[in-house]
Subunit: 273 residues, 4 copies
């Protein structure tokens, strides 16, 4: 690469690589909130194209002044096709190698689409689930997390029990993040979660379907507490899951704020409690 001419006699000094004397190690430094097109592994169709928000960081030893930001984007660009959580170790190693660090972190958030068939009419449409992959490699140890945010219907059991007709209900977002032993499909994790709400949601419902989901939900009322417990139980009995956090947030139809619950399972706790 030649830069040019006379005017630019300033050399391309690499300030980032110069020595730093503050003796403060930086835990994470890198690029945040890059929007990038990626191709993911899809259980039903082989591949799925989507758009990810990506963060990539490395640790910076105390004696270096700065990191080289462009290299993160180079690594991302090289690996953006055929991404799956199990390809994260390769990406993390490339980051360590290229950025000359001992620790690397990558986070991707993206909408993932599944075809959903309405329960009675069988009309098909796409439903999106906001998902996340997070990976880190610190001092030779990998840590991989898969997360799904599943929209669902929740019907309030208290409202149903005390009211002469109806029950307040609302959209709920159930967020689950897991650590695991063997490769796990987003599709399978979503299905485990979705089945624990009052009812699943759809993009396209004909009148017969609307009757079905209204009745299914009404006959299956669940507090935000019930939802996180039932999803947590599902995670606890799955021998492939080594850690999880389960959150549910109900966009209450009777309030202008939300109801929320969280169960988090620490790795050291015995399964099934």
């Amino acid at each position: 690469m030649r830069v040019t001419s006379k005017a630019s006699e300033k050399s391309l000094v690499d300030i980032q690589s110069s020595r730093d004397y503050r003796k403060i190690e930086i835990d994470k430094v890198g690029v945040k909130n890059i929007t990038y097109p990626v191709t993911l592994l899809d259980k039903a169709h082989g591949k799925q194209s989507t758009v990810a928000k990506v963060n990539m960081y490395v640790g910076l030893p105390h004696h270096f002044k700065g990191t080289h930001m462009s290299r993160f984007v180079e690594v991302l660009n090289e690996h953006r096709h055929g991404i799956r959580i199990s390809s994260f170790p390769k990406i993390l190693e490339a980051m360590l190698d290229r950025l000359d660090s001992e620790s690397a972190h990558i986070e991707m958030a993206f909408p993932y689409f599944l075809e959903r068939v309405a329960p009675v009419s069988k009309a098909a449409s796409m439903l999106h689930y906001d998902c996340t992959f997070k990976g880190s490699l610190v001092d030779g140890k990998y840590d991989l997390l898969v997360g799904v945010n599943v929209p669902a219907t929740s019907v309030c059991p208290c409202s149903k029990a005390i009211s002469d007709g109806g029950a307040h209900n609302q959209r709920s977002i159930i967020s689950v993040e897991v650590r695991f032993k063997e490769f796990i499909w987003l599709e399978d994790l979503i299905e485990k979660v979705e089945s624990k709400a009052s009812c699943e949601v759809y993009s396209l419902l004909k009148r017969s379907d609307e009757k079905y989901v209204t009745e299914k939900a009404y006959n299956n009322p669940k507090f935000v507490e019930d939802i996180v417990r039932d999803v947590a139980h599902e995670m606890m009995i799955d021998p492939n899951i080594t850690w999880f956090s389960v959150e549910a947030e109900n966009f209450e139809s009777i309030h202008n704020h939300n109801a929320y619950a969280l169960v988090e399972k620490w790795p050291e706790e015995p399964k099934g409690e």
Copy 2:
């Protein structure tokens, strides 16, 4: 590039005031998205402190290169106490005067709080309504708009009619913007809107209240279409309202997308159609 010598000798040249030769008038130029503390007129308590996001613009004649951005903030700072829509003409005139323009625009969005008393328990709490004031003064003509975003409950009439038990319902945001003849209280506009949903929402509901709002809403099912029509009718029969737009957005509990409706009344149309 030589940076100087005699450092402070660079004069504070006013580039903005220099002549522009592109012959393109700028419709709006100014500051956007300033967060500022303001005091509003409050019907019940005299004054209410809140936080506004403010945009301020003027028109720029084709022969000026730029506007003087700091003057917008000066005007805002001088007028931030005791703001009411009826003080907007004064602010707009200050903008014209200070910015040497023929047109001025100001937009403020802020949460406005009302104390709400639960319907049965009478427990009191605060509920916030996102509101807007917009004013413009163009070629000597004022235009003032007041907007309110009212959270409410909507119950689906179709779901109720076809289902053996229950009905899907959800939080709805009803957004109304009006032009008017005489000063109008946010409180009064909010009340007109809130009463047209299936039920109003509260921050604090005891069990007796939850029964009440569940039943009230279930006995008063409304499509998003019904809500905008009923609010629009309320606006049409108010002789003080000279123009309005009414929107409702339902955060459907059975979908991951929203239902939406809009009625807009143009000034030239006769009242009551």
Copy 3:
């Protein structure tokens, strides 16, 4: 309230189609904020997969109680492959036909990706542009708009002129929306806009590139006013553009608020003023 008897005997009554007596026509009713996977026409590669936020509305005559929301999603689902602004008339006609209305509106917002080559190192990476397609068909008249949001660098001319070294600069988003005669590529519209800022931005810049963009921007300072004027001029001299609005918003590095400018060209005004 008694809920039933002979449970499933509740007929699937079509409340939406029943008669309404309020005599209020609804301007727009439909679905809002659906996230959907779409395939767009791409100038360089034929096709590009991305993710769109979609709104679809129709007008509802005063005598109908409601619209049939599921049909919007059916239309979207059928047309989601190979979308280009010139396929919007077909989608709008399908909406009129399926929803039995006289007016239809569709809005799509999506990130669109272009490969960008760094100016000196020639390193390649993807850059995203938030774009919009909007179409409406009202009483037989089509209206189609294409919009692009182009990130760029802006350097303040005033700051440069008065300061002994440096000049404040920042990311700017330039938003252009156009009406046009003949089909227009997003790529071409983006390029027209991008070239009018102080400098274009990139996802990946090596040190030699960073020198290049810093100097290019510093030697090309532009107020937010200059940017909208230069882009507006570009639109005015393009005989294919029949209307435009040009906005620029600078995320000022010396403030916690933004500088903003807008030029809008109304259709009835003569070209070139």
Copy 4:
């Protein structure tokens, strides 16, 4: 409180208090994202009114089916005047007491305003800082955190060093969260952070001020890495700070993504490293 009448023979059964058999304790359950007006302690003026987003949770023992959501809002409503981080223990105790739990958590995020005087013209205006208070009381142990998000200017040292004129710069948000021994003023924490950027930002700058801040920043270039290190150092040498995390995010003017760095100090590490 009496509910009424014949129709409502359904009793107000307290489902939440009924026994749960899943043996899953819930870590956090409560209300999220309530917008509430609060009054804070202000160093200069005694009191400051602002608007907070509030989350409140308690732990739920495995044998209870649900919590009583309305009680959170009751506690918030009773304590919303005169809030300071040192009043959080009282609020947390009220939550434990009212919700009958062993653990309680409260999080408040709010814009906090300080009057800022421009460096040369001495023109005054308000600047907002997004701040947070977080408190928890778990098994008798309090944990209190104060956070500030400080907008500032950052100038890139590499860009300055290699370029013949200018240097890219941008708005940066520096986010600091601390644990501490003695009461700490938001004002003091903000000042410690603000002084470590290339330059502080203002809402209102006259031309003489713009010259000043441009030159100050240009003469004080800092990588995102420098900013977090310098702020971290400031925290390390403060004997009142027992833990901190420091993040900086630069809205790069030459990219459409951000540069980011984080230093976090764990309590067990010795001060000053």
